[in-house]
Amino acid sequence: MRILVVEDDKDLNRQLVQALQDGGYVVDKAHDGEEGHFLGDTEPYDAIILDLGLPVLDGVSVLEKWRRAGKKTPVLILTARDRWSDKVAGFDAGADDYVTKPFHMEEILARVRALVRRAAGHASSELTCGPVALDTANTKVTVNGKAIKLTSLEFRLLAYLMHHNGKVVSRTELVEHLYDQDFDRDSNTVEVFVGRLRKKLGVDVLQTIRGMGYSMSETGHAG
């Protein structure tokens, strides 16, 4: 899961990035509207946290530009402006959620989780695929009720595949959503991680679709 944080306050930006990384996300950051708009326009994020009072280009304009260009990425507006007129303007510009400062980090994390989940069409915070269960709220993974330990990259890989349960996910897509923008994108490493993840899960829910990518499905697991 890849998240973009657009916030001009350096400290707050760092805290958001840290908290999101701790929550198992890959995070990119931008400090002004122009940079934020460029990243959101060119990179495939799963959710974007957007401040409104940004230098160079303000948040509402950034959001409107994305929406006009057809970008459907869920956007959470994080702002000090708490008037209803601001909220109405934010939602009308295409926001999916709105949090006013000052805020609690847990709230942001919960809202981001909900946004990502909703975008993928899941209602509950717990994603399941056969015997495998992933709780997005506390980043725990169980197989047949037994907890298993995953590295953060393995967790991100599993979470992305489970969010897109039943769909085929290409290697490129995986790379784009698992690593931040500076990562050297060698898709061969993905194969290595998929192999490790299969071994740790111990159940056959992760299929390789030749020439296309990977897919999670509960059919044909060995148990």
Binding site: V88, D97, H104
Partner: protein
Amino acid sequence: MRANSLWFRLIASSAGMAIILLATAAFLLNAIFQQALERNFDQRLRASLDGILAAIELGPDGKPQLQTPLADTRFSLPLSGWYWQISAADSYNKLAASPSLLEEQLTPPETALSIRDKDGVAAFAMPDIQGTHLRVIEQNVKLFGGQKEYAFLVAGNFDELKAEISSFNNTLMAVLAALGLALLAALLFQVRFALKPLVDMQHQLNDIRSGKGELLADNFPREIQPVADELNLLVESNFEIIERARMQVGNLAHALKTPISVLTNEASGSKNPLAGKVQEQLGVMRDQINLYLDRARRAARAQAIGASTEVEPVLQSLARTLQRINSQRNLSIKVEAPPNLRFRGERQDLEEMVGNLMDNGCKWAKSSILVKAMPTTSDEGRTWLLITVEDDGPGIPPEKRASALKRGERLDESKPGSGLGMSIIAETASMYSGLLSLDQSGQGGLKANLKLPMVA
């Protein structure tokens, strides 16, 4: 009317001047009339004197004697005030006199005799023995065939003209008094007329202060228009200062929110007792910021009279926004509002009041909230805008509804909110002389009634 007022100064000075002028006029007119009467009287006395001179002759004893008595019988009545007397010019001994004089003798004061006209006639006033006011003329004449000069003196009763004089004086006083009153009335009108622009200015300033007007008019008289212009500049700069202060408070408060977020996040990650203290104080700061932001907004409202906002689009946009905020909950938010219903006030205030009520409704509702706007007529016959927000949540029991509207009260700490919401709505509503009341909804939950001024 206070002594220290332009009104008093103008009235007092003009009235004083008028009194002095009227009194002088009265005195002068009286003197002129008296003089005219005296001249006329003197003419009659001259006629009598001519009659005496024609009838006088020196008697055998060398004394002058009247040959035929005078026709005028008043000279015969004793002490009638009508006398004639002939005496030696040098010694003033009575030689002959009218019977009316009896044994008395008229001795004119010496100063009176020194002023004579071109005929050698002296005219003066003197009293007789009875105190009757006499008008006297005197002429020194040499009688035919003699060298001796005699003083001829004729006196008339001037008191007989008293009635005429007092009648004239009465008329004069009445006319002057009427003139004075007319002057005073004209003066009052004039002062009122002249001071009216000042009164107008006061009213306009009052309107500005109470928010009914924005600036003073530019059609004041030439003398006070500069003052009005200066006042307008003052009013404008006052508005600017308020606006600037308000914006700065707003900017400060908003700017503080980001650092508070940063501190909150840093502190929440630590188990250090200091972190706990920081968290607690940050909570206080958050509430203070909300409070002062609210006040700054309210200060701006004082000048926002005359605005009008269409209700229906505001309710729709709020419903749309709240639908998205609560998109996971499958809430039904229904708005029933006729088009062209207008709130007399700022759009932002309506948004804040109704938005908070609807947000509150959404927080507590099980499945639906209903927002209605309609005109309503109060007991006094005034038409108000009534906005109701109903939810199907648990509601508030009647005994707790009053405290829900108080500042800082939060009935349930389990839902997020600063505890300012309801009280801010109520305070904003009362600024528009409106009212927020809570009631039981037909859907089972809370029904909030917001009564606001309407554009008819």
